[in-house]
């Protein structure tokens, strides 16, 4: 078992026993389901919208080189500097050099999971720069020194009391009772930062090849401010974010809003295609787009799982996943949580170290059912299991399953041996849950069914004997 797997088991064990956490997450997501279904019901045909959105991403991902070049050229035509980063280190180094060359001291950052993925804030802080998270949820977890809990709702695990406590300790603010008051405290702090920052960093939800724009979706307005006020702007964009045409956003933006946050449309959807142009009076004078690979091409090369790159980072799969709802976002121990995280992390960070994320699922399929771009999530988990075992069978499992196959191919032996296992049932019942119980993984928390007097095969044999 890898170190990551051990940590996962420990965290999952702890969180699944935490009934308060369980109740809190159920409550937090309860309203989402109702509103999401109301929103979906308004669609002329939600299922065809999914097919349509998936078709746009399929086209983009399967012609990725063509569209990235088009995107890059169109961005550059407006004066954007486009930098292609093979990995996180290259991206961080470039961004640090941009900051250095422009004499930047203070950075304001809007939400970017891609930036989180490559530990960009930490890399820039190490280079002596101040990095402030402007997204409220990210700001809160940054103050607490925690990673984000959910890719869309970073602080959903915290109560207002915990946030108030954090603000008092870290900001020296007065005690605040309501989410409104707490938000206004953050708003006040942030306003200063927007005006003072000399560089903004953003991510992107989409990148339109046809017109050369990145597209940023948000509710708070912090990305609009972070990308408009500072004199330098850097946007870090995973290469899979590309969509072929501007009109593709006419479907993708509403679906992102509906699936992600049960909204009709998110508050701000901003297209950025270049620095301040002739005729503009504000906006950054320098705009850099960093296109990031960081092993996305490895996932691209896995044609069977390539559609995982369609992901629009809506978070809907997290919201419906019964595993996520019971173990929480931090247990995953990595940037991307939930079903999509479980699918892509083995590709991005190593199959053998992260294969436990493929196995820690009951494969219920709620994720694939809800995904607005029809990623075959739960089947990919199955495929990753197969890939992990093919690469490295588990030494004690392999003989068990070989034995299983050998046994099951011998119906005569099955007919003979199976009743004996049923006879052992009372003995197993007596030692259930104990250390010597071979089935203790089950019986620690659950009873086993009683053995019936007759198996089906015995019933059938008797039935035909009567004839």
């Amino acid at each position: 078992m890898s170190a990551e797997s051990l940590q996962f088991h420990r965290d999952a064990d702890r969180l699944t026993h935490d009934l308060q956490h369980r109740a809190w997450i159920q409550k937090a997501l309860g309203g989402y389901y109702i509103k999401r279904d109301e929103q979906k019901a308004k669609y002329t045909d939600w299922q065809q919208a999914r097919s349509s959105a998936a078709a746009a991403k399929y086209e983009a991902v399967n012609h990725l080189d063509k569209y990235l070049v088009e995107l890059s050229d169109k961005l550059a035509a407006r004066g954007t500097k486009v930098f292609w980063a093979a990995d996180g280190a290259e991206a961080a180094e470039y961004i640090a050099s941009v900051a250095r060359d422009a004499g930047v001291k203070r950075i304001i950052k809007s939400k970017t999971m891609t930036g989180e993925e490559i530990h960009l804030p930490q890399a820039l802080e190490k280079a002596g720069l101040e990095v402030v998270e402007s997204d409220l949820g990210e700001f809160i977890v940054q103050l607490r020194g925690e990673p984000p809990y959910h890719i869309v709702f970073p602080s959903m695990h915290l109560t207002r009391g915990e946030i108030d406590d954090t603000f008092q300790r870290k900001l020296g603010s007065a005690h605040a009772d309501t989410p409104e008051e707490l938000t206004m405290i953050a708003r006040g702090v942030m306003r200063q930062k927007y005006c003072e920052a000399d560089m903004g960093i953003s991510g992107a939800n989409f990148a339109v090849a046809e017109t050369g724009h990145i597209s940023i979706t948000e509710n708070e307005g912090n990305a609009r401010l972070s990308t408009s006020l500072p004199k330098v702007l850097v946007s870090i964009v995973g290469i899979e974010k590309v969509v072929p045409k501007l009109d593709d956003l006419a479907v993708l933006l509403p679906m992102l809003a509906t699936a992600g946050a049960a909204q009709n449309m998110t508050c701000y959807n901003t297209l950025l295609g270049g620095p301040r142009q002739p005729g503009e009076t504000d906006g950054p004078t320098e705009f850099h787009v960093v296109l990031l690979d960081n092993r996305r091409t490895a996932l691209l090369a896995d044609a069977e799982q390539r559609d995982a790159l369609h992901c629009i980072r809506c978070g809907a799969c997290l919201n419906v996943c019964p595993i996520f709802k019971n173990i929480g976002g931090h247990s995953y121990g990595t940037t991307y949580q939930g079903p999509i995280g479980s699918v892509i992390t083995p590709h991005l960070r190593g199959l053998q170290s992260w294969k436990h994320l493929s196995f820690s699922s009951s494969l219920c399929g709620a994720c694939a059912e809800t995904c607005p771009v029809k990623i075959d999530l739960h089947h990919h988990l199955l495929q990753s299991r197969r890939n992990a075992i093919a690469q490295m069978p588990v030494w004690w499992e392999k003989p068990i399953f070989s034995g299983f196959a050998w046994f099951m191919r011998r119906p005569g032996l099955y007919r003979f041996a199976a009743p004996m296992l049923r006879l052992a049932a009372p003995l197993l019942h007596a030692i259930r849950g104990n250390d010597i119980d071979p089935l203790s993984m089950w019986t620690r928390t659950r009873d086993l069914p009683p053995a019936p007097p007759q198996s089906f095969k015995e019933y059938w044999r008797d039935k035909n004997a009567k004839r």
Binding site: S362, R385, E397, F404, A451, S455
Partner: protein, 238 residues
């Protein structure tokens, strides 16, 4: 019609009532029922654990067992999905791929078979009980089964069907998942059990006995009186 029965290994050993119920219903409807005794297991435990070669070896004997069948009907959503959805993938590129696809095409889950192939609704059953229905995930999402069981239960005289809030939420069984990640599996089961109890039902019914094993196992450990029964057993009360 000659109907060939597919009885998954754990139904054979622990829940034969589901299979027996299916036999009684199909015979009552006037069909000839046969059961190839050489069948053992569909191979899903190995498949779900990533051991596809071993799973395929077991699956091959299922291809043999059902070779001459016209139509195959099984009482499990998850094993039904194994044959219908996953066998074609398991045998992709294999010499027996055509056979696997043929078996997939002629296999049906029990409630889907009754409603969509035989077109039956009322089996003349009567079972006075307040019950709720749990949708097994494979049956629901791999095979699209949702209204069929409810349509059949509607005709059972005296049966009051109430829906639980978390009807479509996974019970946490997930095959080997239940013993590889027992803490997560148990937590999911607890959520499911709480939702069942909230309905005030005296019985939980499902088309997947593996789910019922998880749910009843938890109820028994909790000391709850509520019972569980497979759909086929309920419908066979005539």
């Amino acid at each position: 019609m000659k109907i060939t029965l597919f009885i998954p290994c754990f139904i054979d050993q622990y829940y034969p009532g589901a299979g027996i119920g299916m036999v009684r219903i199909l015979e009552k409807l006037g069909h000839i029922v046969e059961y190839p005794d050489s069948q053992t297991c569909c191979g899903q435990p190995a498949f779900n654990s990533g051991y596809w070669d071993e799973a395929r070896a077991v699956a091959e004997s299922m291809l043999d067992a059902f070779r001459d069948a016209e139509v195959v009907v099984g009482v499990s959503g998850s094993c039904g999905a194994m044959l219908k959805v996953f066998y074609p993938e398991l045998f992709h590129g294999h010499p027996r791929e055509v056979e696997a696809k043929a078996l997939a095409a002629k296999t049906h889950e029990f409630s889907s078979f009754l409603v969509n192939v035989l077109g039956v609704g009322d089996l003349g059953a009567s079972f006075p009980v307040k019950a709720t229905f749990h949708d097994g995930c494979h049956g629901l999402r791999e095979l699209g089964i949702k209204k069929e069981p409810r349509g059949l239960l509607k005709h059972v005289r005296g049966l009051e069907l109430v829906e639980m809030k978390e009807a479509e939420t996974c019970c946490g069984f997930g095959g080997t998942f239940s013993v590889k990640f027992p803490e997560i599996s148990t937590a999911m089961g607890e959520v499911k059990c709480a939702s069942i109890l909230e309905t005030g039902a005296d019985m939980v019914i499902s088309n997947d006995s593996s789910c019922l094993m998880q749910i009843q196992g938890l109820f028994d450990r909790q000391g709850q009186k509520i019972k569980s029964m497979h759909l086929a057993e309920v419908l066979a009360h005539f």
